[in-house]
């Protein structure tokens, strides 16, 4: 898989796909998209990088512990859900706030978005943790 064509295309794809996955993530709470879709897209492009450049080479400059990403996402998602309890509401109750920022115009801040970010990290962490461990056979 290490032809010059795939390498070049992968290099172009990585930033584009990651940006697109983030835009899907942020659109998620009331438009098509969401943490799961965004996470899968992010994981797929990292997986493509692993396949094209080889796991050993990629590990020399980019070697995060994906299990930590998973843990971070799950903590964030569950804490978001717990947060509603401290405001006297039931678990998972979401809150919406509209904010005016000078350059961006009106921005919708939703607590469900925070939960989505948690899901995003859980999906990335779990998929890539499995992918990396299955591919990594020397250990």
């Amino acid at each position: 898989m290490t032809t010059i064509i795939t390498k070049t295309i992968t290099k172009v794809c990585i930033p584009l796909v990651i940006l697109f996955s983030i835009s899907l993530l942020l659109a998620g709470h009331n438009n098509p998209g969401g943490g799961f879709i965004g996470g899968v897209m992010f994981a797929s492009v990292i997986a493509l990088m692993y396949v094209v450049f080889g796991l050993k080479y990629v590990k020399t400059f980019f070697n995060p512990d994906w299990a930590k990403w998973f843990g971070f996402g799950l903590t964030l998602a569950s804490l978001t859900a717990f947060a509603a309890m401290f405001f006297g509401h039931n678990f998972f109750r979401s809150a919406v706030e509209f904010v005016h920022l000078p350059l961006f115009g009106e921005i919708e801040l939703v607590s469900a978005g925070l939960f989505d970010i948690g899901v995003y990290f859980v999906v990335i962490g779990s998929l890539l943790f499995i992918f990396k461990n299955v591919g990594d056979d020397n250990e």
Partner: protein
């Protein structure tokens, strides 16, 4: 304080999930991981008792997740759910305490704690949810976390990795098929009735039944649910995965699987058939009774010939869950109460037996009973515990198992099911035979010592291992000599099951924000 207490149902589900995440960050710090997990598990157990007490005093509790009223996911804690949560939290706390010493260090701090917490979350979620699709989701959490836990290594490495892989593969594939069947059943139910809320389903199906417009495929869906819960509970045609999986799992996980996990099937059966399909129940009672009897027979006959101590206990579980389903099949208030008493007693005794067998295996270094002998001298605690468990499972008088079998057969005779009771009674004698055969083989006879044969390991059982065993043994004994509170609770649960109107009222009167 009261306001916080109304959040109990979700706390019992969400805190274990949060803990599972935290445990991943604490992987490098073994001591903190152990201490935190055992503390939280203890608090969860205490909270589950509080929940049962609240429900007992204040009636059915409904919790709306996200405040979406009856249109969102709701959690319902009635007596059955909260009672099952108490049982599962008790067994899981003791199993966790046991596994701190029993499981090999590397397995323990890499993923065991996270997965164990997810297992607890899945169990509590399955019991507390009031939404049939949500139940499916929690079934999946249960399945996947328990699958990974089966692979965890115990100290001493008695079970080969290849055996574990084979067992896990069987477990995963068969339960995935079960999950697909459940998904199809839930989807067809939704397509027919248009709701997933169990109370709402019950109301709508009752209305259809009263109007005479109950479509025929409701019966097919009910049969699919028998397959799903039968698969989880290892009922006769679907029992063959259990005797492979339960013995290969490390002992505390075997105790969880046999003590609580197979009861999830019985719980689902009670919930779905006595709430949703209560008008079609009369059609399925003969099927459930037939399957229960077949399970009792197959389990008992297979257990007699086993040499492997954990395999024997696993077949015994198959046989005993048949008695629970027999009670469910009879379907009267007394029979349901008896089934619940039986369920609790079996959960206590069988998880105790699996924990004890773990201690025995630890000591003997093998699972083959024919290679053990005379261990009454070297491990007196284990031998007494195993004797109490064996007596309870076989149904001998001072133990809880006697009361359980007595009320079950009594309820069956009251409902005039003479032939099923005769068959069940006959195969109860088999239980006596195989449990005592195992006890005699392991503890009596010629002493085989480490000096002579070099077989026994020098690993002594620590307090972490003996305390859970002694606690459960004491419970098995207490339920035998002072059974009234348990019987009274089971009677109340059975009355709630037979008349689900309070449950429906509690859920359906919710207002949407």
């Amino acid at each position: 304080m009261i306001a916080e207490m109304s959040h109990l149902p979700i706390i019992l589900i969400a805190v274990p999930i949060l803990m599972a995440a935290l445990m991943l960050f604490l992987r490098s710090n073994e001591g903190v991981q152990k201490g935190l997990n055992i503390t939280v598990s203890f608090v969860m157990m205490a909270l589950s008792f509080v929940l049962l007490w609240q429900v007992w005093n204040g009636g059915i509790q409904v919790y709306e997740v996200g405040e979406w009223g009856k249109y969102g996911i709701i959690l319902v804690a009635d007596l059955l759910s909260s009672g099952m949560v108490v049982l599962s939290s008790l067994v899981s706390f003791l199993a966790l305490l046991y596994s701190l010493d029993y499981i090999e260090g590397k397995s323990l701090n890499s993923s065991y704690h996270s997965l164990f917490n997810l297992l607890v979350a899945g169990l509590n979620g399955t019991f507390l949810t009031g939404d049939i699709f949500n139940m499916f989701v929690f079934f999946e959490i249960l399945l996947l976390s328990s699958c990974a836990l089966v692979v965890a290594n115990e100290k001493g490495g008695v079970t080969k990795s290849s055996d574990k892989m084979e067992a896990t593969f069987k477990y995963l594939v068969l339960n995935m098929i079960g999950s697909i069947v459940m998904l199809i059943a839930v989807a067809s139910l939704y397509a027919t009735v248009g709701t997933l809320n169990m109370a709402d389903l019950s109301v709508k199906i009752s209305a259809m039944s009263a109007a005479g417009t109950l479509p025929w495929h409701i019966f097919a869906i009910a049969l699919l649910f028998i397959v799903v819960f039968g698969n989880k509970a290892a009922i006769f045609p679907m029992h063959y995965w259990l005797p492979d999986v339960h013995p290969t799992a490390p002992s505390p996980i075997s105790a969880m699987l046999s003590g609580v996990m197979i009861k999830v099937g019985a719980y689902g059966m009670l919930r779905v058939f006595f709430l949703i399909f209560r008008d079609a129940l009369f059609l399925f009672q003969p099927i459930i009774i037939f399957l229960a009897l077949a399970t009792i027979i197959i389990g008992a006959v297979s257990a007699v010939g086993q040499k492997d101590v954990k395999r024997l206990l696993a077949y015994s579980s198959v046989s005993q869950i048949g008695y629970v389903f027999l009670g469910i099949g009879f379907g009267t208030v007394h029979a349901l109460a008896a089934a619940l008493v039986f369920l609790v007693n079996h959960a206590i005794a069988k998880s105790m037996l699996f924990l004890t067998s773990g201690g025995i295996i630890h000591h003997a270094g093998t699972r083959d009973m024919t290679k053990m002998g005379g261990m009454i001298k070297t491990t007196p605690v284990m031998s007494v515990a195993f004797l109490i468990g064996a007596m309870s499972i076989a149904g001998l008088p001072p133990m809880g198992g006697f009361i359980a079998k007595f009320v079950l057969f009594d309820a069956g005779l009251l409902a005039e099911y003479y032939i099923p009771i005769a068959i069940a009674l006959f195969f109860a004698v088999f239980t006596l035979f195989y449990m005592f055969r195992a006890w005699l083989l392991m503890f009596w006879g010629e002493i085989r010592d480490v000096e002579k044969y070099g077989e026994y390991s020098s690993h002594k059982s620590s307090y972490m291992i003996t305390i859970p065993i002694i606690t459960l043994a004491a419970l098995a004994f207490i339920f035998g000599i002072y059974a009234e509170p348990l019987i009274a609770l089971s009677q109340a649960i059975a009355e709630q099951l037979i008349d689900p109107q309070p449950y429906i009222d509690a859920v359906m009167t919710r207002v949407v924000r």
